[in-house]
């Protein structure tokens, strides 16, 4: 089918989509009063352009625009856009969610003095994120990748007076930097082997990766040879980048801390878009990975998913629960990439973006309203703690409804988007394990447990926050009438209602039980393998137990008919303390690093500089010795001979007594001695 748009028009739309947020960033800083308007208008423009690009590119041949940027002797780097299915679906997703978050933020940040900065940073983020998606070569991806991290740094630390916030943004940036170093090394490997970083050339149709091969432990490409292990290293390096960005074990600890930023930011950046960039990157360069890397990927994804879900079960901070939930869900996506079901990964990325963003925004509404109470009464309580909430179902009905909609999607109950996408991953994992057998059955086992944990923790939040009695009045010792809270105004409610609609399967598939009918999944899944018993059995057995767990959570947290009293057990503590990763890193990495830096400084001061000082001291001592030598020996010789001569003269002077007869005697003696001398000779 011929597109109604020419490639040139599409190029211009892509240019608009990415430059609009950048201009908004600059103009927001200049025209501070109109920052919000500028931000919304620009991202709206991006959204419209993305929509057009989606129509023009989806399921059509890849478009690639490229312009010279840097040209050196044996390689060059271009600036350009790569428009394919993956690009446009991500573009649409990012610009759409960013638009909603922008609108939501108007109300959320209304009282902040520096909100122009907030909108400027948000626009910068959108620019960078769209750049990651649109970039046509990995060098450019890296550039935007770091800029995304930078924007995230700015936004996490937006309230820079909060100690915790600035600690968190430092941690986030540095942990991301660890991944970036990996990414950079990966770039160097690819550049050396292929002399180009162009994604289309490397991974597209008839790509360079396919033309390279490993033989006799040598990785051969059209441009060079390397030992074969560099292929695995390259894979692991890019994966390291994804691990950091997508907050996977072992670099996941920055994401829960990043919740110190404004909630709208957490929802856009740390739930829906930026953290998904890691998965996106893996999808972009998927052909690079060999089996070793893929299996490690699956293992890390699985472990992260399980670990984060187990932590989320006990957290009392609502945003922390959602943060660990994000980590867990990203683990699912990485797992999907690892088991080579890319379609499931991208599908889950999209559905997750909607419901996780919604969860954060809805939580943000609760926090926002509680925060008002806090300011109004000048009370000091944690407005993010689940312990102060409860019974909000009646007070904030819209919030309640959208939160539940997102929760069932997260839990993967039938008729929701999560049901389709998560089950796609589960089925793939089952089939993947079935092919391999043996120890690989750990994967389906753990992944099932993780999805039950997911159901449990999210419904724990639902029941704790929205059912039962509102606990805050008791804590503050006030009546419920005084502490009246309601749903916030339309700036906040409309975006969340729109997002809530996307939690349902209908937007993604006409048959809510048939994965293959999903347009996103179907378009990637070029080898439909879900034909055995797994596609039917897996959803059933997951969901049956899920319903049981929901019922249990309802009894425990809404009705309070029973309580879990295992607070002293080791697994409860492990979960509550987030598996002690932070303490471990603080003690074993940061402390040791700081000790090392001290040691280096000591070495610099005492050894190197000490050596210099020693050298100068030695020279000073030598010079003292030569000075002594000069004074006493050289000068002494000269002075001594002069002294000798003068003493001799004084002695000889004694002969001249002035007495005539003495002279005669001397004369006689001299003559005599002369004669004696002559006689002896």
């Amino acid at each position: 089918m011929e597109s109604i748009f020419t490639p040139y028009m599409l190029f211009n739309f892509a240019l608009i989509a990415i430059t609009a947020p950048f201009l908004a960033f600059i103009f927001s800083l200049i025209f501070k009063r109109f920052a919000a308007v500028i931000g919304i208008a620009s991202i709206g423009l991006s959204f419209i352009s993305s929509l057009i690009l989606f129509i023009g590119v989806w399921k059509k041949p890849v478009l690639h625009f490229s312009f010279d940027w840097i040209q050196l002797a044996n390689f060059k780097i271009n600036l350009g856009f790569l428009l394919n299915d993956l690009t446009v679906i991500m573009l649409l997703l990012i610009s759409f969610i960013a638009l909603l978050v922008h609108i939501y933020s108007v109300e959320y940040m209304r009282k902040d003095d520096l909100k122009y900065r907030y909108f400027a940073y948000l626009s910068l983020f959108c620019f960078a994120m769209l750049g990651v998606v649109l970039a046509d070569n990995l060098f450019l991806v890296y550039i935007f990748w770091e800029l995304v991290g930078f924007a995230s740094y700015l936004l996490i630390g937006f309230w820079f007076k909060k100690e915790k916030a600035v600690l968190a943004n430092k941690k986030a940036f540095i942990m991301n930097r660890i991944g970036d170093v990996g990414f950079l090394i990966g770039l160097m490997i690819l550049l050396t082997q292929f002399h180009t970083l162009d994604i289309d050339v490397l991974f597209g149709q008839g790509n360079l990766i396919a033309s390279s091969f490993v033989k006799n432990d040598i990785w051969a490409t059209p441009f060079g040879l390397m030992p074969a292990y560099w292929l695995s290293i390259a894979g692991f390096c890019f994966f390291a980048g994804a691990i950091a960005k997508s907050a996977q074990f072992p670099l996941h600890t920055w994401l829960p801390d990043a919740m110190e930023g404004p909630t709208a930011v957490s929802s856009l950046i740390h739930a829906a878009t930026m953290v998904a960039a890691g998965v996106f990157l893996l999808l972009r360069i998927a052909p690079l990975f060999n089996q070793l890397v893929l299996t490690s990927m699956a293992a890390i994804g699985l472990f992260t998913a399980f670990m984060a879900a187990s932590i989320a079960v006990t957290q009392t901070d609502i945003k922390k629960v959602l943060a660990f939930s994000t980590i867990s869900q990203l683990g699912f996506m990485i797992l999907a990439v690892g088991v080579q079901d890319n379609a499931a990964a991208i599908f889950h990325l999209v559905t997750h973006a909607f419901f996780k963003c919604l969860l954060f925004l809805a939580a943000g509404m609760v926090i926002h309203q509680l925060h008002h109470l806090k300011e109004k009464y000048q009370e000091n309580f944690d407005d993010q703690s689940l312990e102060v909430m409860g019974g909000l179902r009646k007070l904030m009905p819209i919030t309640f409804i959208v939160f539940v909609a997102a929760s069932i999607a997260l839990a993967g109950l039938p008729f929701t988007s999560g049901y389709l996408s998560k089950d796609a991953i589960l089925v793939s994992v089952f089939e993947w394990a079935d092919e391999r057998g043996g120890i690989y059955w750990v994967f389906p086992l753990l992944v099932s447990i993780t999805s039950w944990l997911t159901t449990f923790y999210i419904f724990r939040v639902v029941f704790k926050a929205f059912f039962g009695e509102f606990r805050l009045p008791q804590i503050l010792g006030k009546t419920a009438e005084e502490l009246k809270i309601t749903d916030p105004n339309r700036w906040m409610t409309i975006p969340v209602i729109i997002l809530a609609l996307f939690c349902f399967a209908l937007f993604f598939a006409y048959n809510p039980f048939n994965l293959e009918s999903s347009w996103i999944y179907g378009s990637w899944n070029n080898h439909p393998h879900h034909t055995g018993m797994y596609p039917i059995l897996v959803p059933i057995y997951i969901n049956v137990l899920s319903f049981a767990l929901i019922f249990m959570a309802y009894q425990a947290y809404a009705k309070n008919t029973f309580a879990f009293n295992n607070q002293a057990s080791w697994y409860y503590k492990l979960s509550l303390n987030q598996w002690y990763f932070n303490s471990f890193y603080d003690v074993f990495l940061i402390k040791i690093l700081m000790l090392k830096t001290k040691a280096f400084y000591w070495f610099d001061q005492k050894i190197i500089d000490g050596f210099i000082h020693l050298l100068s001291n030695i020279i000073i001592i030598i010079s003292k010795i030569t000075s002594w030598f000069d004074h006493y020996i050289i000068d002494g010789l000269v002075n001594g001979s002069a002294w000798l001569v003068s003493r001799l003269g004084i002695w000889l002077r004694g002969m001249h007594s002035g007495k005539l007869q003495h002279y005669f005697i001397w004369m006689l003696l001299i003559f005599l001695s002369f004669f004696i001398y002559k006689l002896i000779i």
């Binding site: 002077r653 001249h656 007594s657 002035g658 007495k659 005539l660 007869q661 002279y663 005669f664 006689l668």
Partner: protein, 101 residues
């Protein structure tokens, strides 16, 4: 004939006596006399050795020269001694040390 050795013995004795006088006497005149003795000893030797030169008689001629010179020298020396006496009121050479360097 008197052998040469006799002359030389007498000359050496005379010279030694003169030298002794020069070194030991406390009177400038006596020292002068000692000098004269030594000069005469040398004249004696000159005359004695003159026998080996019978053609030119250089020994005798030198003896005559020395006599004349000695007479002149004595004259000068006596004047010096007189001047010395004028200055130092003494002719004891031990009393004067103006020659001292």
């Amino acid at each position: 004939m008197i052998p040469l050795q006799h002359f030389l013995f007498v000359g050496a004795t005379l010279f030694s006596l003169g030298l002794f006088a020069v070194i030991t006497r406390k009177n400038a005149i006596q020292i002068l006399m000692g000098i004269e003795l030594m000069i005469n000893a040398s004249i004696l030797n000159m005359a004695a050795f003159g026998k080996y030169d019978k053609v030119d008689n250089t020994g005798q001629i030198f003896g005559l020269f020395i006599i004349v010179l000695a007479a002149a020298a004595v004259a000068v020396a006596l004047v010096i001694i007189m001047n010395l006496y004028k200055r130092a009121k003494s002719i004891d050479p031990n009393q004067t040390n103006t020659l001292r360097g």
